[in-house]
């Protein structure tokens, strides 16, 4: 019985988890598109569409502000990003990196390591090679171990922030702790498994199950910000968008 369960979570369940993960991301992206709309060049989204005579196309509503719906090349599209980087020092002063340097740095490390650690873990890559016949370059065990420890420290930071920062506590619910738990469990168990602390078999099962649960969880929970963040920044017209902001809520 137990053996069958282990087989299941090591086999089909992995595929299901990944299937749900990628499928879910696509679904979320599609839903994102469906709740946003293309900005009308006249900025009159509710207005009935007039048959537009290309020749007589007048720029009325916003004057020069609506001129030039010109097609842009890839480099031109990237211009705002490049400029963003150029001016980033000015921008930084108003950004999280200055107002909350610790939160900002910890967030970046947390999110980067969240991906880097499992993807470049040697053991994972071994499994990957078994399944597909090739693998990504792996980081050494020592390195990933360090990354895990740092990652867990960042997680602990978020946990403490939830508990002890007044304004974050004001908006914290049980769900937030659950999300944090779901994110941290695979790392904690992985860390334990690597050290062979505790009952290896149990730890491994928890590790695999929690990892799979996380994958399934991502698209359909708050963790969906994984894809949402990029869609928002690149598509929606706002003060903080990286792109041209051609869409609106």
């Amino acid at each position: 019985m137990m053996a069958q369960f282990v087989l299941f979570i090591k086999g089909p369940m992995v595929w299901i988890a990944f299937g749900v993960f990628f499928g879910g991301l696509v679904v979320q992206a599609w839903r994102f598109i469906s709740v946003t709309r293309k900005k009308d060049p006249d900025y009159l989204p509710g207005a009935p569409k007039k048959k537009k005579n290309k020749k007589k196309k007048t720029k009325k509503t916003l004057g020069k502000a609506v001129a030039k719906p010109k097609r842009k090349g890839i480099m031109e599209r990237l211009q705002p990003l490049i400029r963003f980087a150029d001016k980033s020092y000015d921008n930084l002063e108003n950004s999280m990196f200055f107002t909350h340097p610790v939160v900002a740095v910890v967030s970046v490390i947390f999110h980067v390591f969240l991906f880097v650690t499992p993807i470049f873990l040697l053991a994972h890559n071994e499994l990957f090679r078994k399944a597909f016949g090739f693998s990504l370059p792996g980081l050494s065990d020592r390195t990933t171990d360090m990354l895990t420890i740092i990652f867990l420290m960042c997680g602990a930071f978020f946990l403490f922030r939830r508990i002890f920062t007044k304004r974050v506590r004001a908006i914290t619910t049980l769900y937030d702790y659950l999300v944090l738990l779901v994110t941290l469990t695979p790392f904690i168990t992985g860390f334990l498994a690597f050290r062979q602390w505790g009952d290896y078999q149990t730890v491994m099962i928890v590790h695999i199950v929690s990892g799979e649960l996380m994958l399934i969880f991502i698209p359909f929970s708050k963790l969906g910000h994984m894809i949402y963040f990029f869609l928002y920044r690149l598509l929606i017209g706002s003060e903080y968008s990286f792109g041209q902001g051609k869409r609106a809520w």
Partner: protein, 125 residues
């Protein structure tokens, strides 16, 4: 005031905007990063009550949580949140793109539909 609220109307309104508003609510990471972008938060000694996410979670968030089954007392409770604690300046920053002002505006619409809105100038200021 004791006049009952029209729950059906509130439910209809909630349902009409569900797809967007639910997404916002479910994607709010409760991270509190929006705090500094709110001038009201800054000017009120960083009182968490003025945190943009606090404002939406405790107005529209609760409306959805309760599925519209609210009474007038509830609407009167969120009235200061959506009117006094937010001026809809649309400057709030959210790292994952939650449109806070849209949600506050929607909460205001729902309150308005039940006759809950500021009538005295003093209450604005």
């Amino acid at each position: 005031m004791s006049t009952p609220v029209n729950r059906d109307q509130i439910k209809r309104m909630l349902k009409a905007r569900k797809s967007r508003m639910k997404r916002y609510l479910s994607h709010c990471m409760h991270c509190g990063v929006c705090a500094e972008s709110c001038f009201l938060y800054m000017k009120n000694d960083k009182d968490p009550q003025y945190l943009p996410s606090y404002k939406v979670l405790n107005s529209l968030g609760k409306l959805y949580k309760k599925g519209g089954r609210v009474d007038r007392a509830f609407l009167l409770k969120i009235k200061p949140i959506v009117w006094k604690n937010c001026v809809l300046c649309r400057r709030c920053y959210c790292p994952v793109g939650v449109d806070v002002p849209a949600m506050i505006a929607f909460a205001r619409s729902i309150c308005r539909s039940q006759g809950v809105y500021p009538e005295e100038t003093q209450s604005w200021l």
